[in-house]
Amino acid sequence: MVKVLLKFSDKVTDQPITSQVIKEKGVTINILSAHVDQQGGEMLIEIPEDEAEGVIEAFRSKGVKVELRRLIEVNKEKCFDCGGCISLCPVNVITYDAEYSVVFDEEKCLGSTCALCIDACPVRAIELIT
């Protein structure tokens, strides 16, 4: 599965773009999380690898910005393994390793559609990549 972040501008949020793409391409899209406000919306989805190219194309042609990238950046210089962020994460991205170092499984992260841990870090070591 490929994880992509869709960014909808306020001009397209009122259109049923996602269902149109699902219908056109006949694929299953796993919606991991979504967030909408006055400026527009963001949706994090998962698509099967071999369908990815076509689906991304379809979203782009409908005016949606599609991004494939890392969603957060953890500054390991700043992080002192306090563990304060761990309980905020809804999808178990953040855990201790055997030595009680705090480790991030960034693959699973929901990024800006979640962002719960960001302002919980007392030394601001976690940043959203925007």
Partner: protein, 499 residues
């Protein structure tokens, strides 16, 4: 249960000098006692080391600047825009960890200034004064590093709580507290303290700790200078006051920190060496997380005495999940467990390398003091005292009939309830005006359904904060069954405080 003395501090120091002392961390001690028993452990182990690295708000540093020419008697001063206080004569300043920057509040504060100084960074000092015949100067601006200071001592008046509560939140909104960010509906929980590694937990009767105990403090050697403020030994909430040389500390064990919407603080690394003077101490230092308990407390209730939900062991807390009301809740430590381990190990290596010697306290920490609540001159008013009946309506009413109620009773808020009297929403006179202008006839189109509420037993101060935070002018008052029992408005509150 006084047991006979096995060794004295002097004897231990002699062994340290010769490189013969047997030192283990509190974690290692548990295993040794488990496999070989208390008697053998007590005989063989000389010192057990402990550690914790947590947020300790009642921390700060005293610095002395030296005199300028012409000299100044500082009245007000700021370092990197953080106000620092002037507790002494002319050029002594105290940097409080929780004091926030005037230009970057909530992001930078006294704790960060202390960390920057320890790192060797340059900080900007501004000061003003009224000027005297002997201290004529009235303004000062300069750049300083720790090397420019005569003294730079960490002087923390309450550190190292013996144990601390585990915090969670019953409210239906996120709250930001000194125990971190707490998600709604018991969405998570946080705790503090290193459990079996925690310094005071390993000597709970303060047999070896008191004025003059040499300790690990911020990566260097420091001292306990007495019991901390709010020391509460009868409930195992002991605390200590400490002093250590900031010039020798390491940024690995001192971190300035910001708790969102709460403020700034300082993470401090502390470790005690506990001399195994008798068998009793061997037993105490072998305490493990299964046997250390604290309470899960609802920080959603903003009162001094917050409701306790259950008792919990550190073993369970460190597992990452606890059970609250039959729901599995994720829990995270606010203090670094990795840091705590590192401190216990570092202290052990200092003793092994004959770099750290033990001291006997001149006076032990008190074991019988009580922690009193604040004396207030007037009782705090509760919502109960200003509540008045709410004008209510049902969801299926027409805009017109609600408009008539508003005009007839000259009020601004109508609370929408169901047949059982339970809260369904709120409508304001503004909503009605707007509906009329837009030609809307049904109340259901204009009801605000996400309503902030209060309860009769909530302090007025707390209700008032809700109004300000959400920029609203009234709060329906509900009882435990969510039935509407009245309403309070911003006007009621201002009247109360004007009295």
């Amino acid at each position: 249960m006084p047991t006979s003395e096995l060794r004295t501090i002097d004897e231990i120091n002699e062994k340290i000098r010769k490189g013969e002392a047997v030192v283990v961390t509190a974690e290692e001690m548990i295993k040794i006692v488990e496999s070989r028993g208390i008697k053998v452990a007590a005989k063989e182990i000389d010192v057990v080391t402990t550690g914790t690295l947590g947020a300790m708000c009642s921390s700060g540093a005293i610095i002395n600047l030296g005199h300028s020419d012409p000299p100044i008697k500082i009245n007000k001063a700021w370092i990197n825009d953080v106000e620092v206080s002037h507790p002494g004569a002319a050029v002594d300043l105290y940097i409080g960890a929780t004091q926030m920057s005037e230009t970057k509040p909530f992001e930078y504060g006294g704790g960060h200034v202390i960390e920057d100084l320890i790192k060797g960074e340059e900080v900007e000092l501004r000061a003003t004064a009224y000027g005297t015949d002997c201290y004529p100067r009235t303004r000062l601006e300069t750049l300083l590093t720790k090397n420019d200071l005569n003294q730079f001592y960490l002087l923390n008046f309450r550190n190292c709580y013996q144990r601390y509560e585990c915090a969670t939140n019953s409210r239906d909104e996120v709250i930001y507290t000194y125990m971190g960010k707490l998600l709604p509906h018991f969405g998570n929980a946080t705790f503090s303290g290193a459990g079996e590694l925690s310094p005071l937990t390993n000597d709970p009767n303060y047999e070896t700790i008191g004025i003059g105990t040499r300790i690990f403090l911020g990566g260097s050697q420091g001292y306990v200078i007495g019991e901390g403020t709010q020391h509460n030994p009868r409930n195992q909430f002991g605390t200590i006051m400490v002093r250590g040389d900031g010039k020798k500390m390491s940024p690995e064990f001192i971190h300035g920190a910001s708790f969102t919407n709460y403020g700034t603080t300082l993470y401090v690394g502390i470790g005690f060496p506990i001399p195994i003077l008798n068998e009793g101490l061997a037993k105490k230092t072998s305490i493990c997380d299964d046997d250390i308990f604290t309470e899960v407390v609802d920080y959603g209730v903003p009162r001094r005495d917050r409701p306790t939900l259950r008792k919990v062991s550190y073993k369970e807390l460190k597992s990452g999940k606890i059970d609250i009301n039959n729901k599995e809740v994720k829990v995270s430590s606010l203090s670094s467990l990795k840091g705590a381990k590192k401190i216990a190990k570092t202290l052990k290596s200092w003793i092994d390398d004959s770099k750290f010697f033990l001291t006997a306290p001149i006076e032990r920490l008190p074991t019988d003091t009580v922690f009193k609540p604040m004396k207030l001159l007037s009782a705090m008013p509760f919502v109960e005292s200003i509540i008045h009946p709410a004008m209510t309506c049902k969801e299926d009413e027409k805009v017109k009939s609600v408009a008539e109620k508003i005009i007839h009773h000259s009020i601004n808020h109508v609370v929408v309830v169901n047949d059982e009297g339970k809260l369904k929403g709120i409508v304001t006179s503004w909503d009605i005006t707007k509906a009329v202008a837009e030609g809307k006839k049904d109340l259901t189109d204009i009801i605000t359904r996400r309503v902030f509420v209060t309860t009769p037993d909530e302090p007025v101060e707390v209700a008032s904060r809700k109004l300000a935070q959400h920029n609203i002018s009234a709060l329906p008052v509900v009882n435990q069954e969510k039935k509407v029992v009245g309403i309070i408005t911003a006007e009621d509150i201002s009247k109360l405080f004007k009295r």
